[in-house]
């Protein structure tokens, strides 16, 4: 397997991982909002909280993490961009 192919495989797997997490917090958890709303989280009903803040915060953290992880993959396979002089 050439380095480029391997780089692309890693990139693809990272993308899929993040999309799975995205799916859970974008859809799955809200599907059960009615059921988890009886749980209280710091004063909020949990179902409401996840839609108002929880999922949003997960997405933000996820993107900063994704940006770092993808860059690490690029560096490992030597395909990252040169620093600007």
């Amino acid at each position: 397997m050439s380095a480029d192919t391997e780089h692309w495989h890693k990139t693809r797997n990272l993308t899929i991982t993040h999309l799975v997490v995205w799916f859970v917090f974008a859809f799955l958890i809200h599907w059960f909002a009615h059921d988890i709303n009886n749980i209280r989280f710091l004063g909020w009903p949990l179902g409401y909280y996840m839609a108002a803040q929880g999922s949003l915060a997960v997405f933000v953290i996820q993107l900063f993490l994704f940006s770092r992880q993808q860059h690490a993959i690029d560096v490992k396979y030597g395909v990252h961009e040169e620093d600007e002089v």
Partner: protein, 606 residues
């Protein structure tokens, strides 16, 4: 003005420039607060806020004007990720986010949170599937990517059509929002206010293209975020929930849930008032059942996939210095967007509580109707037909289902009815205007650029020189803007509705060719054309059918027609691609190169 707009020294001095600007804006706010104490009238305060902020945007637009193609289309590709994040956030957060969203949550509670989930979750798709790859491609516009990846003038033309349909729908909503705010601030008829708003938009985007719009949008972001968060903090402090409301308003939800049965929220009003509605939905309780859950996730889905297909947003990531910067810029965009969205439910909750809670001076329910009607904010908004009171049971007291309002005014009116000083209302009006103007700028630019670069230069006259192309772009900007203002002054659809349509149009036509262009090498030209045409036609056809009385399939109403469009688009694109020959070797090599950050961009512009 000897400011340099590109290069290292400019980039390094950006934090200083915007710190001074923010300080100046806060000083202006303080000055207005002091003048209010000395008796400056509400009208004069509103007017000063609007005039001051628009003046600054125009100033930035003028000093960063340009006639160079790279600066005009890509802001010289030198916008640092954090600032690009702020500019994207302003570009993104429109009149709908600022003016209408909290109002929707206020009125309808939990189901409207699908918008905030969707409008943030979409950025995961942008970052993982789109932005870095499109940046590597090095295109000027979104149709430029589609036209180059798949080849052929017809492909490019289809992409132009989808972009125009989606962006034009979107821009009319922004001009509507601008018109509403300007009408109230200047006390002029709404139709005039639309045209006035248009002038403000054009000054920023006409002169300097992407470069001027970028630096103006950063300034607009600062105004809009201050304007959104300040009233929430103030209300929260006044109601005793602490000074970090976003983390502390949980008990306010609990209090609302206690008060709702006492006030009788959930009883249908006897009277109806055209265009206005009474509170009938519980605030924090999702409806039970699969249809409610399905409607929540499909709305979120449309907003997410729509986000990843909106040309004016994707094009912002073409301006970063590198692929890596494009990725971190998406993360910063979402961070800045998050600041507003996780505050919106707090705003809706606290403003609802200030009307509900009998322990607060601002509460209105259960009080004598004559007293409530005498309140100045009820009178002011009642005069322009956005608030109404009907004593249905004739007992002289105000019940929840006797109070009608237009959801779009919640954010603008909250400072008044929560009893905050008027200077806050002026600030909020300025923030709403910044939100609407910045999005309108971005949209007009996306449309004008694609018409000048893709339609005029790439399809009609490939030999046209830069000067002529940029001139065409500016003339087209005028024409489209005028058409948008004309449509907006007719008020065809509410702000939130029109915005949801724009998302659905964009995802119906553009999502499949964009995502498959990077992720599926086998995708070819006939497939892309089929995907765009079938997607847009099915989505649009379904919208028309639903609007004309067809029973929606599976609860997919007019806000969710993008689901139908995008599914049709994928099926058509995959089927047609597989039935026709694979793309040539050069295209395959191009896709390989897009997947690797290092190296020259694939499109070279001269």
């Amino acid at each position: 003005m000897a400011l340099q707009f590109e290069g290292k020294s400019f980039t390094q001095s950006l934090p200083k420039i915007y710190a001074i600007y923010t300080g100046g804006f806060l000083a202006f706010f303080a000055l207005m607060a002091v003048l209010e104490q000395f008796g400056m009238s509400a009208r004069a305060i509103g007017l000063s806020f609007v005039a001051f902020t628009i003046g600054i945007y125009a100033f930035i637009g003028v000093i960063s004007r340009t006639a160079a193609a790279d600066a005009y289309y890509l802001a010289g590709r030198s916008v640092p990720p954090v600032f690009n994040g702020m500019a994207t956030a302003a570009d993104w957060m429109s009149g709908a986010s600022f003016v209408a969203m909290a109002g929707g949550i206020f009125m309808s509670g939990y189901p409207y949170l699908a918008f905030v989930v969707g409008w943030t979750g979409g950025y995961i798709l942008v970052a993982t599937l789109m932005a870095p790859y499109l940046r590597k491609f090095g295109c000027y516009t979104v149709p430029d990517f589609i036209g180059t990846r798949y080849g052929g003038k017809l492909t490019r033309f289809c992409a132009i059509v989808v972009l125009m349909v989606a962006s034009f729908t979107y821009v009319t909503a922004q001009i509507t929002a601008t018109g509403t705010i300007a009408a109230r601030a200047f006390l002029i008829p709404y139709e005039w206010a639309c045209w006035l708003g248009l002038v403000g938009i054009l000054v920023c985007s006409m002169l300097g293209g992407m470069r001027a719009v970028t630096w103006t949008q950063v300034a607009q972001y600062i105004v809009l975020i201050v304007a959104y968060i300040l009233p929430i903090v103030w209300m929260s402090g006044a109601q005793g929930f602490g000074w970090l409301p976003q983390f502390q308003y949980g008990p306010a939800i609990e209090r609302i849930q206690e008060l709702e049965p006492l006030l009788g929220v959930g009883t249908a009003p006897v009277d109806t008032v055209a265009g206005l509605s009474a509170l009938t939905t519980l605030h924090a309780s999702p409806a039970d059942g699969a249809l409610a859950a399905w409607q929540f996730v499909t709305l979120a889905f449309c907003m997410m996939v729509g986000t990843a297909s909106l040309p004016h947003i994707l094009m912002r990531y073409f301006t970063t210095p590198s692929v890596k910067a494009a990725r971190s810029s998406v993360a910063w965009s979402l961070f800045f967007i998050f600041l507003l969205y996780f505050s919106a439910p707090a705003l809706a909750t606290l403003s609802k509580l200030s009307l509900f809670d009998p322990n607060l001076a601002s509460s209105i329910f259960g009080k004598a109707i004559a007293d409530v009607e005498a309140l100045s904010w009820v009178r002011n908004w009642g005069e322009i037909g956005l608030v109404a009171i009907r004593d249905s049971n004739g007992d002289g007291l105000l019940q929840v289902n006797e109070f009608f309002l237009n959801p779009d005014i919640i954010v603008l009116a909250t400072p008044e009815f929560a009893g905050l000083p008027y200077v806050i209302s002026g600030l909020v009006a300025a923030g709403g205007l910044a939100a609407a103007l910045s999005t309108a700028d971005g949209l007009l630019l996306a449309m004008a650029n694609t018409l000048s670069h893709d339609l005029y230069y790439k399809i009609i006259d490939p030999k046209a020189e830069t000067r002529k192309r940029l001139l065409t772009a500016r003339v087209l900007l005028l024409v489209i803007g005028a058409a948008g203002a004309a449509v907006a002054s007719m008020r065809l659809e509410g702000i939130l509705g029109a915005v949801a349509w724009a998302f659905c149009f964009a995802m119906s036509g553009l999502f499949a060719p964009l995502v498959l262009g990077v992720w599926w090498k086998r995708a070819n030209r006939p497939g892309a054309v089929a995907g765009m045409v079938v997607g847009l036609v099915c989505g649009w056809g379904y919208l028309l059918a639903v609007r004309n009385g067809m029973t929606p399939w599976l609860g997919l109403d007019h806000l969710r027609f993008g689901v139908v469009g995008v599914v049709a688009s994928f099926i058509a694109m995959v089927t047609v691609s597989l039935l026709t020959p694979a793309p040539d070797e050069e295209t395959q090599r191009m896709v390989d190169a897009v997947r690797v950050p290092r190296g020259e961009s694939l499109v070279s512009h001269h």
